[in-house]
């Protein structure tokens, strides 16, 4: 922020303390999260005895819901009063930022609900995880609203630092610590690159304010634009890291696998939403004039992300690693929307992010339940004949996986359809076809798990006889049955919400599509 403020100050006047008017109401969703997080922290230190189980999850859910309500109010306000800037142009108040707030708010609600049972089961119940999640959510929301590269960086750091800690939250498990370490080192590196990109962009355009950068670029033609190009590339790398775009994805499988499962779900949803919010605003609006420079780069990123994500997911034997690669594949789709660089692409990406939030949190909620105590049973074989143990859970997971695969009448299908149609509209036919082809590959590994869930125990599956013809009831199960899966109340609610959203939006998508279409960016 200071960069823009300094730039605005007339050169003759010495730098005096500027009185910045802060429109707090325009930052209400973030403020609620931060105040809520601090309140939870204070409350927890005031309570001497062990708190009632579930109290912190409840508090966190309430805070997230309040933030969601505030987002809804803000949407209404923006609709009435129009888009505007706040905090001396550092923050954009537009439907786009509110959409991101709502997406992250939804991720927080679902994440808080899912985390409750997990923490109790692991004996980690306490306010810390919720506080960190709420704070990281506020960072993500700030990224969505940032109208200044430095505010974007602030949001990125708030989001990331909380996530680093969250990834290593399960202290007893080595993998969790390893995940946190990897995420931290690579994340810090990418933050540095991002900051360097900010510096180069500032050098090339004279401002860090997105509005001013785009004004400058619209009015001037930079002949020696090396610094600007390098700046754009570094910004792309920094944000590309957060959204797990190939080739900046190396951390994803390890971190997704090692982090506590509910955290993984939240990370997949919120970090992606925030990272893409930054990418979409910076590239489609600020660098709109430089489109011919960055579009080919994003094209290559999108293709790499789509192909690597889908192909490597096929060979994974661990569900969390598989979902990690699948999230890379999803990032590729959202990059298609970015590459289109037009209103449809932005709306498509937003729709995708919202739909993905529910799909992925639902999926990881199921993974959390199936993994059971210790959060370690993540082999694909764990899912064999899940349908005979928990038919309802298997059916729910089936819906989430099908949605991720893009089967019609789920939100995932329309999300893919939306970004692909944006690509076609901007004449990126090759990208659209590549996207659809990787969807075919991706569909395979989702369906494989579904088949596994609905197939009988090992002995029956290996037999040469057709399962329809033999009629031999194979009652013997060689492997020991895993402990009975309990579906706790809170996780049940989260699953129901995610399931309902995935199916209802899949069948009647109009309201959400209109919602995404109205989520326009401030120009």
């Amino acid at each position: 922020m200071s960069g823009s403020l300094l730039a605005q100050a007339p050169p003759s006047v010495p730098n005096t303390l500027l009185h910045v008017h802060v429109e707090y109401s325009r930052l209400l969703p973030e403020i609620i999260l931060i105040v809520g997080a601090l309140a939870i922290l204070t409350l927890s230190s005031l309570i001497r005895r062990r708190a009632r189980p579930g109290l912190w999850s409840f508090c966190s859910t309430v805070v997230a819901l309040a933030s969601l309500a505030a987002s809804g109010w803000l949407w209404h306000e923006v609709d009435i009063h129009g888009q505007s800037l706040a905090v001396r142009g550092a923050v954009a108040v537009d439907q786009f930022s509110v959409f991101i707030m709502i997406t992250i708010g939804a991720a927080l609600v679902l994440g808080s609900l899912v985390a409750d049972h997990y923490l109790r089961q692991e004996g980690l119940d306490g306010p810390e995880l919720y506080v960190l999640a709420l704070l990281s959510g506020s960072g993500g929301m700030l990224m969505g609203a940032a109208n200044d590269l430095l505010v974007l960086f602030l949001g990125l750091e708030i989001l990331s630092i909380s996530l680093y800690v969250l990834a290593g939250f399960q202290r007893q498990r080595m993998e969790s610590g390893e995940a946190a370490m990897k995420y931290f080192i690579l994340g810090a590196f990418s933050s540095a690159l991002f900051l360097y990109g900010v510096a180069l962009t500032y050098g090339a355009t004279g401002s860090t304010n997105l509005q001013e950068i785009s004004d400058f670029l619209a009015r001037n033609v930079i002949i020696h634009n090396g610094a600007l190009l390098a700046g754009m590339v570094f910004l792309l790398v920094g944000l590309g890291f957060k959204v797990a775009a190939v080739p900046f994805h190396a951390w994803t499988p390890d971190v997704y696998q090692g982090a506590p499962t509910p955290v993984t779900g939240f990370m997949a949803a919120a970090a992606k939403a925030a990272g893409f919010a930054g990418l979409l605003r910076v590239f489609t609006i600020t660098f709109a004039t430089q489109r011919t420079d960055w579009q080919p780069l994003v094209w290559v990123l999108a293709v790499l992300t789509l192909v690597v994500g889908s192909v490597l997911a096929v060979v994974q034997q661990d569900i969390k690693r598989m979902l990690a690669y699948s999230s890379i594949n999803h990032a590729g789709y959202i990059l298609i929307g970015l590459q289109a660089a037009r209103a449809e692409g932005i709306a498509g990406s937003l729709f995708y992010l919202l739909a993905y939030t529910f799909m992925v949190l639902g999926s990881f909620a199921v993974v959390t339940l199936v993994a059971g105590r210790g959060d370690s049973a993540h082999g694909l074989e764990t899912y064999r004949s899940l349908s005979s143990r928990r038919p309802g859970l298997a059916l729910t997971f089936t819906v989430f996986l099908m949605a991720q695969a893009g089967v019609p009448f789920t939100s995932g299908f329309l999300a893919k359809f939306y970004v692909i149609s944006a690509a076609v509209k901007s004449h990126s036919y090759a990208l659209a076809i590549i996207g659809m082809l990787t969807a075919a590959i991706a569909a395979f590994f989702y369906l494989r798990i579904i088949v596994l869930m609905y197939s009988g125990p090992v002995a029956a599956a290996e037999s040469e006889e057709p399962s329809s013809g033999g009629g031999v009831a194979v009652a013997v199960t060689a492997e020991p049955q895993t402990a009975r899966i309990i579906i706790p109340f809170t996780t049940g609610i989260a699953l129901a919400i995610a399931l309902a959203f995935t199916i209802v939006v899949g069948v009647f998508p109009s309201p959400v599509i209109d919602f995404a279409r109205h989520a326009t960016l401030l120009h």
Binding site: L395, M436, L437, S467, S468
Partner: protein
């Protein structure tokens, strides 16, 4: 959802035809797994109810009308111009009826021992998808239905198939989805280019008003055709078919051959010809050649098969080649024959797969070499097999003859040499089927073949409707042809107007 056109308080046949099986699947899913009999009953009831609705629709279908009937149109996704637009004309009518007839038979015919509940639910979802594909008049809806069909079929093959089912189901799935990739991009491009300026629409009828020609039209036509050619399958996109058909459970094979392959030929006919007539005419030699290759290649390879089911599978490639041949002849006869042959192939190959499935249930083998002299111990079974086989060969008096004859006439008028080569396919069909029959049914039964059980009453009940239809369509195809023809004539007209061509006049019989 707001109603755009209410078809004068008419019963929404098509919506019901799609939703009834879906409702059935939902009800089946709610039944406890242990109630196997109830699941079986519910599956039958819902598929029979669908068949009944289809029958009433067939009865109410107005003769002599070329336009879509029973149309319903509701806005679905307004901002994309997508609507729930359904309609049926002579081209799709009998495909819908065929689907509605085959599903109860496929559910009743083969025995399923394992996970009957999931099996029945998937079958019903599959039925909804198939019917939806045939009646969709909105490109988005068509694509959705075209895709909805895939997962159930994948699960049916992967879950209830034979030894090599994992490989076969995967191959089927990847091939078809890869084709769909081109279809979706093709649909979107068509929609963006052909929509009237100002608003995007996926409505097929609207899009047909602004046809895309030139290189754009050709590329888009190819994008559509690739997806459909995989589904048909047209040589050289056919390699998934033998595996999928052979490894699928019997009901899966029946539906796969009987209905699913027609999604491809129907797609070419409706959307390929409907949206890109110029490109279709320009590229007809290519497709005719591929069709003829498919006919001869499929037949020759079928003759060499050791596995009875694989033989039937390869025969499908040959038969579907005929349908594509008739389609790209661009004559009323060829197209009418093509549409009729879609129905015929569904009946005869569906029946063949059922019979082969029952042979497997009895003998646990499908190898021709291990089967011998069945005619002696199961004469009725052999008799039914004979009729169905002759229908597949195209013996006059049975349904297959009418379709193939019309196709060959229609092609001969415009593309003589292709018709000549294709005619060898008829002979080759006799070769591989009769030869197989001879080896399986003739001679003295030995070993396990000597105790080959005769047809059960249930099997007779399943076969009876198929045999009736096979004979009826062979002897008196007029009621069917007179319903197909107006729509086909309109399509031919559409192609001719768009391409400034004329189909050669043939002598009409005096009234």
């Amino acid at each position: 959802m707001t109603t755009l056109t209410t078809s004068a308080s008419q019963f929404p046949f098509l919506t019901v035809l799609i939703l009834l099986p879906v409702a059935g699947a939902a009800v089946v899913a709610l039944v406890p797994r242990s109630r196997v009999e109830l699941v079986k009953l519910l599956g039958l009831v819902f598929s029979l109810a669908t068949a009944a609705v289809a029958a009433v629709m067939l009865y109410q279908f107005k003769l002599g009308q070329a336009d879509y009937q029973f149309q319903t149109s509701h806005v679905w996704i307004k901002s994309f111009g997508i609507s729930w637009h359904l309609g049926v004309d002579g081209i799709s009518l009998f495909l819908v009826v065929l689907t509605a007839v085959l599903f109860p038979l496929a559910l009743a015919g083969p025995k399923v021992h394992d996970q009957l509940k999931a099996y029945t639910a998937w079958m019903l979802v599959l039925e909804a998808g198939c019917i939806g594909t045939f009646v969709a008049l909105d490109l988005f809806l068509f694509f959705v239905m075209f895709e909805v069909v895939l997962p159930p079929m994948y699960f049916l093959i992967a879950g209830w198939g034979y030894a090599n089912r994992v490989y076969a189901s995967l191959k089927f799935f990847l091939y078809t989805l890869a084709g769909s990739a081109f279809l979706l991009v093709g649909i979107l491009t068509t929609v963006f280019l052909a929509s009237p300026s100002g608003h995007v629409t996926f409505d097929f009828v609207e899009l047909q008003k602004h046809l895309l020609t030139g290189a754009t039209g050709k590329w888009l036509f190819l994008a559509f055709v690739v997806a459909f050619a995989v589904k048909v399958p047209l040589f050289p996109f056919h390699t998934w078919l033998p595996d999928a058909h052979t490894e699928a459970p019997t009901a899966g094979s029946v539906i796969l051959a009987g209905v699913l392959l027609k999604l491809g030929t129907y797609g070419i006919l409706r959307f390929g010809l409907g949206l890109f007539p110029q490109a279709a005419v320009d590229l007809a030699p290519l497709l005719l050649t591929l069709a003829v290759i498919g006919i001869t290649y499929g037949a020759v390879v079928a003759a060499m098969q050791k596995d009875l089911k694989r033989l039937v599978a390869y025969s499908s490639i040959a038969h579907l080649g005929f349908i594509v041949l008739g389609t790209f002849a661009f004559t009323s006869q060829g197209l009418t024959g093509g549409v009729l042959q879609m129905v015929n192939h569904g009946l005869s190959t569906g029946a063949l797969f059922l019979l082969v499935g029952w042979i497997y249930e009895r003998r646990h083998t499908r190898l021709i070499a291990e089967l011998h002299g069945i005619q002696k111990v199961a004469p009725l079974f052999a008799g039914v097999f004979t009729v169905v086989m002759f229908s597949s060969i195209g013996l006059p008096g049975l349904n297959g003859f009418v379709g193939e004859f019309l196709i060959l006439i229609g092609t001969f008028i415009t593309h003589r040499w292709w018709a000549v080569v294709a005619a060898t396919g008829v002979i080759l069909a006799a070769v591989y089927l009769l030869w197989a029959y001879q080896r399986v049914f003739h001679g003295v039964p030995t070993g396990d073949n000597a105790t080959f059980p005769e047809m059960t009453w249930r099997e007779r009940g399943v076969m009876l409707p198929l045999l009736v239809l096979i004979v009826f369509l062979g002897v008196y195809p007029k009621p069917v042809l007179s319903r197909i023809e107006p729509s086909v004539d309109r399509l031919v007209q559409h192609v001719q107007v768009a391409t400034h061509t004329h189909q050669p006049q043939v002598a009409q019989p005096k009234p």
